[in-house]
């Protein structure tokens, strides 16, 4: 990927942003210009770093737990018809509930600390991971299964030697989606009730009309999400051609 087109686009966006601020003379607590935001970011860099680490921790733990649960569920669904008829409708139903609405109740149950945010991240990524991996497991090229049958393979060996490796690219796609969704889950959790984390910092700065700091925190979150996605993409690309 070439570096300069996104770089040029960023510069362009900053110029437009500054022009709007200058042209309209909007007050800085409504919309601060990029220079003010950069200044707020630099002045508060230690505070932002501290909150970023909290959010990152929530995201990574949420991804680890959510992905593990998703993989386990997909394997269960793929190997048991009973599980498919029992769990699948419930799974779709829970996905139809707005996870956002659950944030207050999760905070009530799990407290203001880390775990209510991790639970949010887990809830938001569980379905995409499960569904992507499950799809992959159910779409093994039929020729592979024919071949395995003529070789007198047992269902469990067919699963681990053929169906799982063949579905790894799908799992990779699920994990990449999870990297995009997990930060959203963590930050929603922080909005509802937290004293630490980028979401909490955004709420606090907003409440004190420190709009420049709120923007600084938001942009940090954006950069963090992009970096997470790129890391997930790099890690999962290796899933595609892994040797078993």
């Amino acid at each position: 990927m070439k570096v300069w087109p996104p770089f040029a686009a960023t510069i362009f966006a900053l110029v437009v942003w500054q022009s709007i601020v200058t042209a309209t003379g909007v007050q800085k607590f409504i919309l601060p210009g990029p220079a003010l935001v950069a200044e707020a970011w630099w002045t508060n860099r230690l505070v932002i770093a501290e909150h970023t680490l909290v959010t990152l921790q929530e995201i990574l733990l949420g991804m680890a737990i959510g992905t593990t649960l998703g993989i386990a569920t997909a394997l269960q669904l793929a190997t048991s018809k009973t599980a498919r008829t029992l769990i699948q409708p419930i799974l779709v139903f829970t996905q139809a509930l707005p996870v956002f609405a659950l944030a207050p109740i999760l905070t009530l149950w799990l407290g203001f600390g880390l775990w209510s945010k991790i639970a949010m991240a887990v809830l938001i990524i569980y379905f995409p991971v499960t569904s992507a991996f499950f799809d992959g497991l159910m779409r093994t090229p039929p020729g592979y299964l024919d071949l395995a049958k003529t070789m007198q393979a047992s269902p469990s060996r067919i699963l681990w030697q053929i169906r799982v490796p063949a579905a790894l690219p799908n799992l990779g796609a699920g994990v990449r989606l999870a990297a995009v969704y997990a930060p959203i889950g963590a930050v929603i959790g922080e909005w509802v009730g937290a004293s630490r984390g980028l979401g909490a910092l955004m709420i606090m700065s907003n409440g004190r009309a420190k709009t420049d700091l709120m923007f600084a925190a938001m942009l940090t979150l954006g950069v963090l999400s992009v970096l997470l996605y790129l890391a997930a993409a790099k890690l999962t690309r290796r899933l595609g051609d892994r040797e078993t």
């Binding site: 020729g143 024919d146 071949l147 003529t150 067919i158 040797e243 078993t244």
Partner: protein
Amino acid sequence: MSMAPGITLKGSATIEGRQLFAPLSLTLDAGRWTCLLGGSGVGKTTVLRLLADLPTGAAFDGTIAATDELPVAERIAYMAQSDLLLPWASVEKNITLGARLRGQTGDAARLEHLLDRCGLQDHRHKKPTELSGGQRQRVALARTLMEDKPIILLDEPFSALDAQTRAAMQDLAVELLEGRTVMMVTHDPGEAARLGHAIHVMTATQLQAVTPPQSSVPRAVEALDTLTCQSALLKLLMEQVA
């Protein structure tokens, strides 16, 4: 490998009540190549899949029996038109797939022998994507032979290859599969004329045996009797279309 048996399939098949093939009787002679020739959709792949006990989507009314009266399906090795190589596994791991799927350790000496015979020593650690179409089919052939089964079922395995690679693969297959009972499904009259100790032309209504040339297989591509047989087979196929 145990002694290769002869096999007889007798019966008819229907798909949702519609007849796929009429009652037929197909005999595969022990240790010989039988070619089943026919156009698309006449059920020749179904016959092969019935022998392999693979899902066919058709209801089969009939019997499959071996001359030694032992079960057939567990003594077959299968090779399809698509090489079915696992893209994430090396050539070596693809060849020894059967052993891994049964939880056994593959026969290392046999692997070396087959890598030599199929000209794959230099490619053993490569992934399938790094190989040409011909090389990939050689890996698939080696995987089939690694199974060391007395009955070999080939479903148009060389049809996607270019003409010269296909001819080379036919020679290699005859050499390496010697002594086994082979059934090859094909739509290529030239292939049947080169390889069949017995040739059957399959249509929806009947199975017609065609006497192949007397010469030993693989028959020379330029030999007159091969070419005569090839054109006779093609003519038969064309008459069925008309």
